[in-house]
């Protein structure tokens, strides 16, 4: 009898404690998540992660350029009034099937390939891939030869033909070097989301998902497992970090 009572009491206290723990988790889920995932500033990135973006073209609204605007505002990219040579890190592309007249709208930016042709051709090592899969240009050693621009099958890179006068301190840019989408690396290093993805969510389209392709629990991995996603020019075998659905 006594034994049974003891069991009951401990069971009650267990339930109470569980409820408290559950409440704590529910009240501040963000804090717990940040504690788990944040990369200390002094730590180098590793290949334990690979960042990627999934674009659902069915949700991407034709005529909406929120992602383009957000990207260029974030990175201080301004027009010089010469559209043919202005820098462009992301652009909206319209694909029309001539047979059915079906139109698909999608943003195209650096696809952050696993085997990037821009890195292969760079004569100085300025074009490189970080361990976490983000493809970047080190402008300190870029000589502006533009081989990478020719090698890129996605036309993702731009050359800075003119002096940049509205640079932001987290994204230094200058004349005579090549530049492209950095997947907002300054945000990613601080557990943030790229500006384009954030803008797409804010515009309530939700066509873009950003996340770790190597983490099976991430939203992007789950979506890819469930519904799949295609690469642009998959025939090239570049294994892109940016994937599309519905094209």
């Amino acid at each position: 009898m006594n034994k049974t009572e003891t069991v009951n009491i401990s069971r009650r206290s267990f339930v109470e404690k569980s409820a408290t723990a559950a409440a704590a988790l529910t009240i501040a889920p963000g804090i717990f998540l940040n504690q788990v995932h944040a990369k200390p500033a002094a730590e180098a990135v590793t290949d334990a992660k690979r960042w990627g973006i999934l674009v659902d073209t069915a949700k991407c609204a034709s005529g909406c350029t929120s992602c383009v605007t957000a990207c260029h505002e974030e990175n201080g990219i301004a027009s010089h009034g010469r559209p043919l040579t202005d820098q462009q890190w992301i652009r909206k592309v319209k694909l029309k099937d001539k047979q059915t007249n079906h139109v698909v709208s999608l943003p195209v930016m650096c696809q952050h390939c696993e085997k990037p042709p821009c890195v292969d051709v760079c004569p100085t090592g300025a074009s490189f891939k970080r361990d976490d899969g983000i493809v970047l240009v080190d402008r300190h050693i870029c000589i502006g030869c533009r081989y990478c621009m020719m090698a890129c099958p996605y036309k993702a890179r731009s050359f800075a033909h003119e002096a940049v006068d509205n640079v932001v301190d987290y994204q230094p840019r200058g004349k005579g070097t090549v530049e492209s989408c950095t997947m907002c690396v300054h945000r990613v290093d601080e557990d943030g989301t790229p500006a384009c993805v954030e803008a797409c969510t804010e515009a309530e389209h939700g066509a873009m998902i950003f996340g770790d392709l190597k983490d099976p629990e991430s939203a992007i991995s789950k979506e890819l497992v469930k519904h799949g996603g295609t690469q642009l020019r998959a025939d090239l075998g570049l294994n892109t970090g940016v994937r599309y659905r519905g094209i």
Binding site: T65, P83, Q99, V108, R130, V168, T177
Partner: protein, 158 residues
């Protein structure tokens, strides 16, 4: 001969005296030698740099170069030796002074030493504070596309 020796002795003593008087006057006035550039110190109350001043004067470029590669290639974002933090501390916010002016922290010495640097062709030469470009940046409109143009698919920019 003795007279000449005496004269020399007197001259040396008087020259030394003049030098001593001149030096003491210099010390009393508390002036630095006029040929050294005056480097502006932080105005935000900070009194100590991340390394001793002599070390920074001599080797700041080594710290910056090391941090540069660590940040760009490895994503190390510590602030201690970053160029951005040098500027945030040494250049006042909302200043009109730009790199190239003798009053700018970096150019005050680099102009004097005649050492050209190209950091500020890309980097900001003053603290950014909150992003001032968010509202002013003109957005570049998408131009053209060379993406897949197969026989059944037409690609164009929106």
């Amino acid at each position: 001969m003795l007279q000449i020796k005496n004269l020399m002795h007197k001259t040396i003593i008087s020259l030394a005296g003049i030098a001593a008087i001149a030096f003491s006057a210099f010390v009393v006035a508390g002036e630095k030698p006029s040929f050294a550039p005056s480097v502006p110190h932080p105005t935000n109350g900070t009194t100590e740099c991340v390394e001793p001043e002599d070390e920074m004067k001599k080797n700041h470029m080594e710290y910056l170069l090391h941090q540069r590669d660590a940040t760009v290639h490895e994503g190390v974002r510590t602030k201690t030796y970053s160029l951005k933090e040098c500027i945030n501390c040494h250049v006042p916010e909302n200043t009109e002074i730009r790199f190239g002016d003798d009053k700018h922290f970096c150019s005050s010495c680099h102009n004097y030493a005649g050492v050209s640097i190209d950091c500020f062709q890309c980097h900001m030469d003053r603290p950014m504070g909150k992003n001032p470009h968010k509202k002013t940046a003109q957005v570049v409109l998408p131009v053209q596309s060379k993406l897949a143009d197969a026989s059944t698919t037409g690609a164009s920019n929106e």
